[in-house]
Amino acid sequence: MRKLTLFGYLLVLVLLIITLFHFSSVYAGNEDKFDMISNPEKYPGVTKQFMGDYGGSFNGGFYLAYNEQIIPIHYSEEYSPPHFGNILVYGTFNKEGYVEAIGIHNYDYNYVIYFISLIAFFFGVWLFFKEWKITYRGFKSA
């Protein structure tokens, strides 16, 4: 019985590793990390959404700080930057190195959400150690 349990455990571990490799290969194809400032000619016509920080404005749009890059976003409508948060941009890449925005959403007070989440996390940790005691053989009921 013990051998069977160990075999089952190893089987799940192998299945998890295979799944991670499979996901990684499929995800790499779907969510290729883009470097559009250095290679804008690689992405013309690609439409996707990405989130970043506000990096200032220019006539006809604004700059988005994304993945250590400053990407010019062309947006025809009136725009005001987010309050304590990030910007979600959905747009089409242009070979001249800018993004033509189709839609924009300001994640206002998103940093507050991170802070609230941190408090919630500590609540979870507190409740966990109220119910479980750590031993050398794992966690046992407190």
């Binding site: 455990y9 571990l13 996707k48 609230i116 919630a120 979870g124 031993t135």
Partner: protein, 157 residues
């Protein structure tokens, strides 16, 4: 993602609704899908070692997380299948809450992976408006507690 407080309150509703004794197992389940994928946020505070952190997004998939719970359940000196069940109860609530969020494109939760790579989303509320989920969830939680207290007083054992 909705904030973690929202996920925890939804978890607390499930705990009260199903009279779960080991509450923390459900709460671990509610946060577990986000723990590894959000590790990149630490990069806001200090430089992270060079690594393909995108692989952590795999843990935000129900099937992968189910496998993880099967592997970590023996860490608890408690009924194995109860640990798996309670963690997955929390995790499912997490995935369903995340699937209610709104996006511009094809973002969402890959509910059917590995059968399908497609991400599903009900496109109801933006992630920064998760109070639309949190406030009703708090009301439901308080209502359940009140109903249970009234029932306990009315039908003392």
């Amino acid at each position: 993602m909705p904030d973690w407080l929202t996920h925890i309150v939804i978890g607390l509703i499930l705990i009260e609704a199903f009279n779960v004794r080991k509450k923390s197992l459900v709460l671990i389940g509610t946060l577990l899908p986000d723990i590894l994928p959000k590790i990149v946020l630490l990069g806001l505070f200090f430089a992270l070692p060079n690594f393909n952190y995108e692989i952590f997004n795999a843990f935000h998939i129900p099937f992968v997380l189910f496998l993880v719970t099967l592997l970590i359940a023996p860490l608890f000196r408690y009924d194995y299948w109860k640990v798996v069940l309670l963690m997955n109860m929390g995790a499912i609530s997490h995935f369903l809450a995340d699937a209610s969020l709104r996006h511009f494109s094809t973002a969402g939760v890959r509910l059917l992976y590995p059968l399908k790579f497609q991400a599903y989303s009900a496109n109801l509320v933006w992630p920064d408006q998760s109070y639309f989920i949190l406030i009703p969830a708090i009301i439901v939680y308080i209502a359940i507690i009140l109903v249970k207290n009234i029932a306990k007083k009315s039908y003392p054992q």
